[in-house]
């Protein structure tokens, strides 16, 4: 299995292609939307390139969940994610680092969870799993 650094390097190369950014701009902590300028359409592109680069299958909505909080009105109150909502986030995105977000869980900050590091951890988890075939 490749090291975390090797995975990061490949993830960076993928983002260079998908987002047309310079490799130097990409740090583990970079947020995809805020720092690297990704738009929602770009997520489709990133997923497909990651599948190709790492020869893995990424089920729809697994890496970039769609509308996490639409299922239950108790997930969000007054623009903030509730404890129940946080539990849902943890369950849906175990590879995301919620430590900062939990301190001030404003819904508007949720896009900051989508970092380069998050993708790297997700891929690491994927490669660590036994192949479905």
């Amino acid at each position: 299995m490749p090291s975390q650094e090797e995975i990061f390097t490949k993830v960076s190369a993928t983002l260079v292609e998908a987002l047309n950014v310079d490799e130097e701009e990409i740090k583990p902590t970079s947020t995809l939307q805020g720092d690297l300028g990704a738009e929602s359409i770009d997520f489709l592109d990133i997923v497909f390139r990651l599948e190709r680069e790492f020869a893995i299958k990424i089920p729809r909505g697994e890496l970039f969940p769609e509308s996490i909080f639409q299922g239950d009105p108790e997930f969000v109150q007054d623009g903030r994610v509730t404890d129940k909502g946080l539990a849902e986030l943890r369950a849906r995105m175990p590879f995301a680092d919620l430590s900062n977000f939990e301190k001030n869980p404003e819904v508007s900050a949720i896009s900051d969870l989508f970092t380069v590091d998050m993708i790297t951890r997700y891929i690491q988890g994927k490669l660590g799993q036994p192949s479905p075939n």
Partner: protein
């Protein structure tokens, strides 16, 4: 103007590749302005033709149950201009198809010479969502485009290499 930028499919290999032809007649409206005395096809319209070729290739995989919309052109490299009187061949190869998206690699050539090479990303939208976002009209598969594909099926017995 009818928004149809391919004349006919030459080959159609389900879920793999498609080849279409586009003849550039000087009578095309856009040549009047692009440019007077120097009629070259706008690059964006060549890409549209490739997107129609690739979009039908992608949509046909699921029997056109989902709307396929052009989402993004990650890159396109133009090699030379395409002049009135030329015949463009659009080759689209399906790179991937997922429930929510598809990507094709496209090449437009004229007389064997490369005009442009590109990658095109499509998003799949289910029927209700696409109508919300774009209205009923605004997507790749008008009835007319599907009829273009019908034509290749009609000719399947007559054209070598055609596989529907």
């Amino acid at each position: 103007m009818r928004w149809i930028w391919i004349d006919r499919f030459l080959e159609f290999h389900k879920g793999k590749s498609a080849k279409a032809v586009k003849n550039l007649s000087l009578a095309e409206d856009f040549f009047a302005d692009h440019f007077p005395g120097y009629p070259i096809m706008p690059g964006s319209l060549i890409l549209e033709g490739l997107a129609q070729t690739g979009g039908i290739l992608a949509g046909e995989v699921n029997d056109f149950r989902e709307k396929v919309v052009l989402a993004k052109i990650p890159w396109a490299r133009f090699q030379r201009e395409a002049l009135a009187g030329e015949q463009l061949i659009y080759d689209a190869e399906l790179l991937h198809i997922r429930p929510e998206s598809a990507a094709v690699h496209g090449r437009a050539t004229s007389n064997g010479e490369l005009i442009v090479e590109t990658e095109i990303l499509f998003a799949h939208l289910d029927q209700s969502r696409s109508q919300q976002l774009f209205g009923a009209e605004n997507f790749v598969f008008t009835g007319e485009l599907k009829r273009v594909l019908g034509l290749v099926k009609l000719l399947a017995g007559q054209t070598d290499g055609t596989n529907t």
